[in-house]
Symmetry: C2
Subunit: 350 residues, 2 copies
């Protein structure tokens, strides 16, 4: 097995020298599927992981579950989230479940300590351990539970029993979620490599070009069924109204959407994945770093894309530099290096 | 700027598909400098970071400081360590400082929460915050402090005042440490890119070939001054006797050296660095992953090298597979993938 040599997109500097670097691929397309920018291999199917949570949340709105259970913007944003397990995240997941008449026992995502270190230390300081509500996917799963509850009601069966095993590919909830993903990307999920995600639902390998197309559709509504187009608008608006809930304190997705509002809908995924919808430009994009690096790979690329493609004023441009060219400091707070987008990436976006 | 395309050394599998992969370079040499195996660019100078702590600890023994202060195997191992900040690590650093008549106030490495998550949560549960003793480099720095104390005594000056600024390249302690590094690697540190390490001491870019040579010298003593050769033997023996102190609970360096004893001296460094001495083979080796990935890049390569080059019985071979081909599980404990050495790496080592 050999790989296409994807270009170096991000450099890690120390003392002026390049210490490490990150290779990857990037696709930017419009809703007609026309490629606006491509770097590296955008045809190899790659697992989108959590970058496509907004696509997996389309049925939550389109099915009527969001209205039936009266979900708030915060709750809809959490359904699209990889959150940090901060107290408000866990409480909001609990609230979604309660609205559907259920509790954390319905979640099949597993438990882990909050990604937010302060939240983990606070939990430990109180002598507590984490529950499934702290899992970064608990909002997405609470959304699945809401969809399943509505299905159970329609079928006249007991929701908790109906929901059991909802993470399996053959369960009606997951079939609905897979159908939304397939419709948006136009990629045949039955014929592509499949794996199990961190939270136990299936993840399907999809080329970056098709993932980017799905996000151009999220940006514009073009190419989506009317129910999904309306759901996309509502989810984008919910995340823009409550960006804390899609990630958490100090994080890229939260900070950037707090600042730029509906101009950018961006969502990180594990293993160096990043997708975004740029509604004003009518574009979608998808990034995958070869090595799976998010924090200093995919994020720096995403920041460079936003700088190049989104209309920004001077203050916003300065703000984005914290993400596109962050300074690295050591334990003494001494500046030791920096991250930067490669010349090749900047040139391709120019 | 463009890079040599280093080969893919490690694959990350999910659901049978390659989700991500890690490129890098590897040099294996003997003490004469003869190259036994090379993959990728081994001539580009790269920062060794903490992988060369044993070289930086040579003056601690060679100067007589280790004997003067009566340092134990645990303390000498800690001087070579990137430890996890577990209670015994912090206590052992404190003990080294106390033997030199000083305390944690002498350390200039900065403080950070323990890398060991359980240790961090236990600290938080007691309402405490971390000190410089919890810094993963506190043992190395305590060793520097011991060297500096001996120098201060010889000069007839007050140790605490003498030590101030010991992390700076021009300080007598750091000049001694740099001289040991230059002598072992044969690389001119004055003429190579330099940066500041996480713990504030200088780090110098050195080709993998020269780093591997230094470790062949650590393995054999050949090519080192007699004092440094004796120091290398003693440090290797100390780490083999107390491998918990060079890393920590459940970690590669600790577990592998607990099992294989003096047959392997291996030491991880930040940014995908790994060096090792194989005394029975008289070989040294150095690994650098392009992307800086340690846990699933450099460690898997190191495990594959050990499997290929070190004499192992059947039980040890099975033990090493936990490191060379680990299974990946998700939050529910479900097997979702695996890491594996690439065919190219296996072939080069065969």
């Amino acid at each position: 097995m050999s790989f296409t040599t994807n270009p170096d997109l991000v450099h890690v500097l120390r003392g002026g020298a390049i210490e490490s670097f990150h290779r990857g691929a990037l696709a930017v397309v419009d809703a007609d599927g026309t490629l606006r920018c491509a770097l590296g291999d955008i045809e190899r199917p790659v697992f989108p992981r959590s970058a496509v949570k907004v696509l997996q949340a389309l049925p939550l709105v389109a099915s009527g579950a969001a209205d039936t259970f009266g979900l708030s913007d915060e709750e809809l944003a959490l359904a699209c989230a990889s959150h940090r397990g901060e107290p408000r995240h866990a409480e909001t997941a609990r609230s979604m479940l309660n609205k559907a008449g259920l509790d954390a026992g319905a979640l099949e995502c597993g438990a882990h300590w909050p990604y937010d270190e302060a939240a983990t230390r606070a939990l430990a300081a109180r002598g507590e351990t984490p529950s499934a509500l702290h899992n970064n996917c608990s909002g997405k799963h609470s959304g699945f539970v809401c969809v399943g509850c509505l299905m159970a009601r329609a079928a006249g069966v007991e929701p908790a029993a109906y929901l059991r095993g909802y993470v399996k590919p053959g369960h009606p909830v997951m079939r609905e979620v897979g159908a939304a993903l397939q419709a948006a990307t136009g990629w045949d999920l039955a014929a592509t490599p499949a794996g199990t995600d961190g939270c136990s639902i299936p993840t399907y390998a999809i080329p970056l070009r098709a993932q980017a197309l799905a996000f151009a559709r999220i940006a514009t509504g073009h190419g989506l069924a009317p129910g999904h187009a309306a759901a996309a608008r509502r989810l984008r608006a919910a995340v823009a109204a409550a960006p804390f809930f899609v990630s958490g304190s100090g994080r890229f997705d939260t900070r950037v959407m707090e600042r730029l509002g509906e101009r950018v809908f961006c969502k990180v995924g594990a293993e160096g994945m990043y997708c975004a919808a740029l509604p004003e430009q009518g574009l979608g994009l998808a990034i995958k770093m070869d090595d799976g690096n998010n924090a200093r790979g995919a994020e720096v690329v995403m920041a460079a894309v936003i700088e190049a493609l989104v209309r920004l004023d001077e203050g916003e441009r300065a703000f984005m530099q914290d993400f596109s060219a962050p300074v690295l400091t050591n334990w003494n707070g001494i500046e030791v290096g920096a991250l930067r987008a490669s010349e090749g990436l900047r040139a391709a976006l120019a």
